[in-house]
Structure formats: structure tokens, C-alpha cells
């Protein structure tokens, strides 16, 4: 079936009145959502859209918090192990560095990307976008940044690392004295913030912001 040119959604406003489920290709008319509401696809059950309960200002504040907490989590030691009065602690960078030296460069690169580079890029990019989105504007570089954020998707793994740290602590606890360091608390905070941001539907920024000059 083909649409005649008259009812074709060729202009931007008509196109924005429609919504296509990214999981099954079903077309819907977009309905305005109230705060905290979500729309679900009737065919496949995927979430179509979610309206976050928080404005750009609130999110920006959380992103700044995330940056501070992330810096602490990365720079401070995570745990200290003790054996016969000898103590060893490790930061994220020690973890990456030892894996590189121990013939596991692949793991070192994976850890550096998913635990440091990508999360940091995400925090900076989101902060930059939200800084302008507060007043409904699009930041310089809005398009490539939004595309990059989409592709970064599941490649930030700080929350997996936190669980890994817990497992390591339980394993090490059998043979060593384990002393928690500030880094592990920072990671706990970071995990909470990640949970908040997991509920944010970033693609709404496309609709909520306007180009500066046409």
C-alpha cells in the first residue's frame, strides 16, 4: 500500500505526530504523556515512550553529582587486602594496569573502555546536552553526540564492576583481611545514579529541543 502525497507525513510536525515501535515496526499516533507516564506497544509489549518525572535542570544536577562520584570511584582505592600485616590496595587503574602486564591486554582494554572511557564520555556528553536543553536549545554538536550516545548503549559496565567487587570481596574474605576503601562507597553511589538514569528516555531530547537558527 502506498500513501497519496496529500496525507503523507512529509512535513516535520506530521512526522512527529507519529511514533514507530522500534521493536516491531507498528505505527502509532503519538499521545501526550503526563509526568511519569509511559506508553507500551500493543503488539509486542515494548516501551514506546516514557515521560521522565524530572526536568533537564534536575537531571543536570544529577549528572554533576555523577561526575564527582565517578572521579572518586576511579581515583580512590576500592578495597585493601591484608595478610600477615602486609597490605595491598587497588584503584581501578591498578586493575587495568595489572591486567595489561599479566598477558591479558584484551581484558585490560575492555575494562578501560567499559569502566572508564565510555562512562566518562557518557557523563560529559549528557551534561553538555542537558546544559543547553534546560532552555530548550540544542547544544553545538547535538546531532553527532546524540547518535554517539545511542551507539554507546550497553557498553558502560560500572554496575557490573560493582557486583564483581562484591564477589571478589567475598572470595578474598576467606583468606585475607578485607578493609573497604572510599572507592567502594563511591561506586555504590554511582550505581544508584545509574539506576536513576536508566529510567530516562534520552530520545525525547530530539523533540524537546529546537535548533538555534533555522
Amino acid at each position: 500500500m502506498d500513501l497519496s502525497p496529500t496525507d503523507a507525513p512529509d512535513d516535520a510536525t506530521a512526522a512527529q505526530a507519529l511514533l514507530i515501535c522500534e521493536h516491531c515496526d507498528t505505527v502509532y499516533h503519538r499521545r501526550p504523556l503526563a509526568k511519569g507516564e509511559g506508553a507500551e506497544c500493543a503488539r509486542c509489549g515494548a516501551v514506546l515512550e516514557r515521560c521522565r518525572g524530572m526536568r533537564a535542570n534536575g537531571l543536570l544536577a544529577l549528572i554533576l553529582t555523577a561526575l564527582v562520584v565517578f572521579a572518586q570511584a576511579t581515583l580512590w582505592p576500592i578495597v585493601t587486602l591484608g595478610l600477615n600485616g602486609q597490605y595491598v590496595d587497588a584503584t581501578l587503574w591498578d586493575v587495568i594496569h595489572t591486567m595489561w602486564l599479566d598477558q591479558s591486554q584484551v581484558v585490560a582494554v575492555l575494562a578501560a573502555l567499559t569502566l572508564f572511557v565510555f562512562p566518562l564520555c557518557k557523563i560529559f556528553a549528557l551534561g553538555w546536552l542537558l546544559l543547553y536543553a534546560r532552555s530548550g536549545r540544542r547544544a553545538p554538536g547535538f546531532r553527532p553526540l546524540m547518535v554517539a550516545m545511542h551507539h554507546l548503549g550497553p557498553w558502560t559496565m560500572s554496575e557490573v564492576f560493582v557486583l564483581g567487587a562484591l564477589v571478589s570481596i567475598v572470595k578474598a574474605h576467606l583468606y585475607f583481611d578485607v578493609l573497604p576503601d572510599p572507592g567502594i562507597y563511591a561506586y555504590a553511589g554511582l550505581m544508584l545514579l545509574i539506576t536513576v538514569f536508566a529510567g530516562v528516555d534520552l530520545s525525547r531530547l530530539w523533540d524537546e529541543t529546537r535548533e538555534e537558527s533555522p
Partner: protein, 210 residues
């Protein structure tokens, strides 16, 4: 159910990246670009079967050594102990906490297995245009996408223990090749699930009973 219109039927394309609704002008499906974000537009992701099978098979080839080879060596006072993924889980169950052992078992053994089984089931049924349990298969795919990256758990455990347990002759942990293969398995399965297009689940003939 069958009254819900699909984008292909209406001559529309939803951008994979930004969700923009575009009118499919060209039937050639060549180099259409999204007017909003500039990404290339496809009705369906390109070469789904070839890419997905290739990545899945590559991941499986990595998965065998990842499970057979030890991932970590613990040396303490000259006593050397090599651990595989499974023996690590068993050790956690016996000596540490069974609860955590269950989590590690799920993340390291069940999740990769689930990914292999789920993605091959999806690929085979979609190729046949099957209309069997469509909604459930769609949910299965979303589950795979959601939990896929948690398999990195064991890799991070080995990395952290290696960095921490450095007591020279008294106690030392070293990573062994198994962990590299395991890391590669996780990355390849993640790429495989990203290459799959869940729209294919709904592409066969529409069923009447639903």
C-alpha cells in the same frame, strides 16, 4: 491485533537511531539518510542473518576454551591452584556464600547459554517466517539485550583479584587465558544481539487467532 498498521505497509521508516518517522521515498533502499540525525535508514537492519550467525558462531568458538581453560591461578606458599569458571562457582558455593554463587552461576554460565539458545532460536524461527509465540519471542529478545552485559562479571572479578592479591610468595593471583576467551565471548554475543532486528519476528504471515 491485525488492525495495527506497520511502518512497511504505510511506506514509512522509523530511524533506528533517533526514532524519527520518515517516508520511504526510494524503493532501492540504497543510501537513505535520516533527516534528523543523519544515520542511514533501513527498513530492517542490513544482513541480519549473515552477521548474526557469524558473530554467534565466533562467540561459540571462543566460549569452548573459555569454559575448558582455567581463568585464574591462585598460588600460595608454592601451592598452585587453577580455577575454571565452573570451579570458581563451586568454590564460592562451598566456602563462601551460596547466594553469591547462584548470581555468578547465572551471570557466567546461564546468561551466555541463554544468549546462544535464544538468538539461534530467534534466527531460525524468523528465517522461516514462523508466527509461533511472537510476543514471547519479542520478550525473550529484550531480556537478552537487558542482561547480556552482566556476563562480564567474572572477567572483572579475575581482574580485581589479580590487582589485589599481590603478596609475593605468600599469595598471588594471576589471570589465565580462559578469562580472555570469556571476555571475547561476551563482547561477540553482545555484538550478535545488537545485529539482530526484532522487527523480523513480526514479518511473517499474520496469524488470525491472536
Amino acid at each position: 491485533m491485525s488492525t495495527l498498521p506497520r511502518a512497511t505497509e504505510l511506506g514509512l521508516i522509523g530511524c533506528h537511531v533517533c526514532g524519527q518517522v520518515c517516508r520511504a521515498v526510494d524503493e532501492g533502499d540504497g543510501v537513505l539518510a535520516c533527516p534528523r540525525c543523519g544515520s542511514s535508514l533501513h527498513r530492517r537492519k542490513p544482513a541480519v542473518y549473515a552477521r548474526c550467525w557469524a558473530l554467534l558462531i565466533a562467540a561459540f568458538l571462543m566460549y569452548v576454551p573459555a569454559n575448558v581453560l582455567p581463568i585464574m591461578r591462585t598460588a600460595s606458599l608454592g601451592d598452585i591452584d587453577d580455577n575454571t569458571i565452573l570451579s570458581g562457582v563451586v568454590e564460592l558455593w562451598v566456602k563462601g556464600s551460596p547466594g553469591l554463587a547462584v548470581i555468578v552461576f547465572c551471570a557466567s554460565i546461564m546468561v551466555p547459554m541463554l544468549k546462544f539458545l535464544a538468538l539461534s532460536t530467534l534466527l531460525i524461527t524468523c528465517r522461516r517466517g514462523s508466527n509461533w509465540a511472537r510476543r514471547q519471542r519479542a520478550q525473550l529478545y529484550r531480556l537478552v539485550e537487558l542482561i547480556g552485559y552482566w556476563s562480564m562479571l567474572d572477567v572483572f572479578v579475575v581482574a580485581l583479584l589479580t590487582a589485589l592479591v599481590r603478596f609475593g610468595y605468600f599469595s598471588l593471583v594471576e589471570p589465565l587465558p580462559g578469562v580472555v576467551f570469556f571476555g571475547l565471548t561476551v563482547v561477540l554475543t553482545m555484538f550478535a544481539s545488537m545485529c539482530f532486528d526484532p522487527r523480523l519476528i513480526w514479518d511473517g504471515k499474520e496469524d488470525s487467532d491472536d
